[in-house]
Symmetry: C2
Subunit: 330 residues, 2 copies
């Protein structure tokens, strides 16, 4: 086992940077979800975070550690959406120029919101161009700092503040959870959550959930090493479309995560409709996978305390409406 | 001025009864709403309360004070929806039989949810029958206790716990609000909120918001006495369709409320779409009126701290989708 290079202390330091800057999202519960799962289920809607997703946490934690010269030269990032908005809003708060390299087929709402936050958006074709090369070229030309989406210790520590809060909020309810479920894309949120949760309660078991069409973590666990999937299969979960686990994130997640679970596209749509009808929350596909796994009984949780993260809420009205139509009685 | 017969102490007693029973709904904020209003705006989504609306608070506070014989004889209530569900769920928790008299044209989701909570639902025709008479007959025949929707000291005290929490949560942010906005239908929530808020901060100004098609409070303030409107005009705000202020609630609200504001049906639809896109919350029409008033600049709030209640989230998928379609870019 390799040494874990991000520490709980890094997460505590990030929490200090984010205090009064990030939203302390609530940890709530619903009698309907409890009854359905025959468990006490607490969910943390990061959809209520700035820019509608947890991504702001990591981005701000990274940018807040740049010096004034670096901030002046600006930052650049590539992202299908939520990371873009997270970096853009963090940059706005820190008065830092920002360029975001985004795929031209990203959800319209995410393109628009990124621009509205004051970022310069550079579009690229996901099928013919390399976003890594474009971003590297911008960094080279302008001296801007590249802000990775997940494979970075400061990003991981920032996302970890979500887990730190969650554990504190569980303690406010005077409860300990046996299991914690989280979506996983590149693995930044998962790594930060796992580090925080395990540091605060070594007995807690962390489960990661991904769409069955983007099962790179599931396959990596089975193979015992990082696996890359081809990534041409479609998924509604645009925020979880990483084709391989991050190197740093995997070094953490492969050690701390109990198991990797899969959900289907229909199960995600069902969870989105459930969140509308029963939780009164707007959750995006990638943000709903952990809820979907729970609703499908993918994990035996009867008579236990369970926590989960609803990681984002940036969904187009059309996609949302189609989920509600598909499952009118979830 | 008449003496106010519900006290802050009643609200504190209600809060004790509701502790660990009601959801302590969060008080949150959004950078987008702050920027749009040029103010610090905090909203309390009672949509996250049991049954998706604040109504559970008052119902439980009323039922929890029945003795075991009364609980055995059951309770009866009439309601277009949220009060029905609130009473039904409170009764379920207290093992008490419950009959709900509901209009046959109530939103389907509210009829279904009331039945699912274990209540016997008795339908009536809003145009030809009197729900008061039907409920009174049931109470007479069975010995059941009638649970009023708003004009009752225990109901008002229960709803007041929403205000008590809101003020405590503002204090957690180390802030005081200059103004507090709330939807008003019959006036139970408004009365409870006003009592709690004014007791905890006499300087706070409370504003009530209602749909312009159901402006009985607005007209009552202008007339200096309770006015009854005809109530045949349509409104999307099914949870605010009281045609006259309650007697007890008006004795409180006429003294404590600074002003009554009106919003149009389109402004409500806009606020629902805004809550979807920016707040990631599902809010029903009646629950969105205070937000609508704020978004329309109906109150000068620049550079102040404002609090508001989003009072419920029980909305049909079709109504929701039509609001998002009408305002795709709110």
């Amino acid at each position: 086992m390799s040494e874990i290079t991000v520490s709980f202390r890094d997460i505590q330091a990030a929490a200090k940077r984010l205090q009064s800057v990030a939203v302390r999202t609530p940890l709530v519960y619903s009698q309907d979800l409890d009854a359905r799962c025959q468990a006490r289920v607490f969910y943390k809607p990061e959809s209520l975070q700035h820019i509608g997703a947890f991504k702001f946490r990591g981005a701000y934690n990274r940018l807040a550690q740049l010096n004034s010269e670096e901030l002046g030269l600006g930052v650049v990032a590539y992202s299908s959406g939520n990371h873009a908005q997270g970096v853009a809003y963090a940059a706005k708060l820190l008065n830092c120029p920002v360029t975001i390299v985004m795929p031209s087929d990203a959800p319209r709402i995410k393109l628009e919101n990124t621009r509205k936050l004051g970022a310069k958006v550079q579009l690229y074709d996901r099928h013919t161009e390399s976003r890594e090369e474009i971003a590297a070229a911008i960094a080279n030309e302008t001296g801007a700092t590249l802000v990775p989406a997940f494979d970075d210790p400061d990003i991981i520590a920032g996302q970890g503040t979500c887990g730190l809060e969650l554990m504190e909020q569980l303690a406010d309810y005077q409860l300990q959870a046996s299991s914690l479920l989280s979506p996983v894309g590149g693995g930044g949120l998962l790594a930060g959550l796992s580090l925080a949760a395990k540091a605060m309660d070594p007995a807690i078991k962390v489960y990661a959930v991904e769409p069955e069409n983007y099962d790179d973590h599931f396959r990596s666990r089975a193979a015992g090493e990082r696996v890359r999937i081809d990534g041409t299969v479609k998924t509604r979960c645009d925020s979880l479309m990483a084709t391989t686990p991050g190197e740093l994130t995997w070094s953490i997640n492969s050690q701390l995560v109990e198991d990797f679970l899969l959900v289907s596209e229909d199960e995600v749509a069902h969870a989105i409709s459930y969140a509308f009808y029963k939780l009164k929350l707007v959750i995006e596909p990638g943000g709903a996978v952990a809820l979907a796994a729970l609703l499908q009984g993918r994990l035996p949780v009867q008579n236990t305390v369970v926590a989960l993260v609803l990681s984002g809420g940036n969904i187009d009205a059309d996609t949302f409406a189609s989920c509600l139509q598909q499952f009118p009685n979830p």
